[in-house]
Symmetry: C2
Subunit: 257 residues, 2 copies
C-alpha cells in the first residue's frame, strides 16, 4: 500500500489516505473480511494526526467499503450472497400450492428464513397508503407489520395494508394468515387478483430502519411499494417493504408490446 502523502497535490491528506486504502482493496492487497491497518498504524505510516486518519476511514465507511468493529479493528466489507425477487413470485399456482411470495424466493435459494410478526390488527391508514388503496384518509385498515430474517440476519421490514372491509373476520387478521399467505385469503374473500404494481426507490435508511435491519453505515435500503389490484382494477392491498439493498436483486420481466 502507498504510504506517502503528496504535499504538492491539493487533494486533502485524508482523501489521499482513503485513495490508498481503496486502491489496496481493489487490487486485492487487502481482501474482503480482512483487517485494514489500525488507526495507530496509519498515523505512523502517513505521519498525520488521528483526526486525519479517522476522516479517511469514516469516508470509506460511508462509501460502504469498510466496516469498523470496536476494540477489534476496521475490516473490508464482504458482500453476502444475493437473493432474488423473481417477478413471477405472485403467480396463482404458487398460492394454490400454499406458498407465500417470500417462500418462492427463499426456496429458490435454499435459504432458511424466519418471520417475526411485530403487529397484526386494525389501525388508522397512513395518508400515503390511503391514496394508493383508494380509501378515505383516516379510515381503518388491517395492518400487518413484520420482519424477515435469513438465519440471524434481518433482511427486510414489510408492512401490509388491507381495507378493513375486506380483512374483517378473516385469517388475514391472525398472526399466521395460513397457506398461500394473505393473497390466498384475499382471493377466498372473493377478490380475484388481477395485477400488481411495484414502485422501487432507494435511499439511505432512517435511524430506526438502520437499527431494525442491523445495517452497517454506508448501506442504502431499497423500498418497494406494491399495490395489488383485483380483476376489476380495485386496489385490495398495499405492501410497503424496506430491504437491505446489498442483499437483494429485484428482477422484473417486461413485454416488448
Amino acid at each position: 500500500m502507498r504510504t506517502a502523502i503528496d504535499p504538492i497535490s491539493d487533494r486533502p491528506a485524508y482523501k489521499q489516505i482513503a485513495d490508498a486504502i481503496r486502491d489496496a482493496v481493489s487490487s486485492g492487497e487487502i481482501g474482503p473480511g480482512e483487517k485494514v491497518p489500525s488507526e495507530a498504524d496509519l498515523i505512523r505510516l502517513f505521519n498525520v494526526a488521528q483526526g486525519t486518519v479517522r476522516n479517511a476511514l469514516s469516508l470509506l465507511r460511508a462509501e460502504g467499503l469498510l466496516r469498523a468493529e470496536h476494540g477489534k479493528g476496521v475490516f473490508v466489507r464482504e458482500r453476502p450472497p444475493m437473493q432474488r425477487k423473481a417477478s413471477n413470485r405472485f403467480r396463482r399456482s404458487h398460492r394454490d400450492a400454499g406458498k407465500a411470495a417470500y417462500t418462492v424466493d427463499a426456496e429458490a435459494l435454499g435459504i432458511k428464513h424466519d418471520v417475526e410478526v411485530f403487529k397484526v390488527g386494525p389501525d388508522v391508514v397512513p395518508d400515503e397508503i390511503a391514496e394508493r388503496l383508494g380509501v378515505p384518509v383516516g379510515s381503518t385498515v388491517l395492518v400487518r407489520s413484520r420482519r424477515y430474517l435469513h438465519g440471524p440476519t434481518p433482511t427486510e421490514i414489510a408492512t401490509s395494508y388491507v381495507p378493513w372491509s375486506i380483512a374483517e373476520g378473516t385469517a388475514m387478521a391472525e398472526e399466521n394468515p395460513g397457506p398461500g399467505g394473505i393473497y390466498a385469503r384475499i382471493e377466498e374473500a372473493g377478490h380475484r387478483l388481477g395485477k400488481f404494481t411495484e414502485d422501487v426507490t432507494a435511499r439511505m435508511p432512517m435511524p430506526d430502519e438502520a437499527k431494525a435491519l442491523h445495517l452497517p453505515s454506508g448501506t442504502p435500503v431499497m423500498r418497494v411499494l406494491r399495490t395489488a389490484y383485483d380483476t376489476n382494477g380495485v386496489a385490495v392491498e398495499v405492501c410497503d417493504t424496506v430491504m437491505t439493498a446489498d442483499l437483494f436483486v429485484l428482477s422484473y420481466e417486461l413485454p416488448a408490446d
Copy 2:
C-alpha cells in the same frame, strides 16, 4: 430547536446534536432548502467544540438529510421532482412513433432532457455482460456509453452492449441512432424484440460515478441491468444504467398469473 445536551445520557453529544437538527427538520421548523444554524452557532448553542459539531453535521450529510455549501452554509436537502420509469416504456408503438425509451418518461413529465454521448464503437465485451449477452468472453460488441441530463442536472449514466454481428454497418454504431433509438434499429435488422428483463440493485456510488452524476454525499445510486431478447429468446442487447437514486421511481407491473 432543542439546544441542550443531556450529560447523563450515554448517547454521544454529536448524536444528540444530530437528533436535535433531525427533529427540527421533520417538525418543519427548518424546511427544505433552508439553512441550518452555522457551525459557530451550534458551538455556542450546545457549548461544544467544532469537532463535535462537525461530527453531527457529517452524520446528517451521510444520511442524505443535509447538504453543505462551502462559504455559504449547510442546508436541508430538497427532494427534486421524481421521474418515473414506466414499465410500458418499451412498447413497440412508442418505437414506431420514433420515440426512444427515455423520451417516453421525460415527455410524461414535461422535462427537457439532453444526452451526452461519451463513446460509440466496437470494443471488447466486459465479462459480466458477455454472460448475459450469451457471447464468448473477450469477443467484440458495440459499446454505446452516454449520460442523460435534465437541464443542468445529470441523472443517469448508461452503457449499451450489442453483439457486433448485429450492430455492424447499422445506424446503431452512429452517434445518433435515429428515430426510435437502437431498439428500432435492432428490429430493422431482423431481430423482433420479444421481452426485456431488468435486474435492479442499489448501492453507494463509486467515486467516478459520484463525479459524473454530481452526487452529493449520502446519495445512493440504483443500477438497472436490462437485457433485451428477441422472440426466439436470444439476447440482443444489454444496457447497464446507473442512476441517481433520489431522482427516480422505477415502476413495474406484474400479472397475477
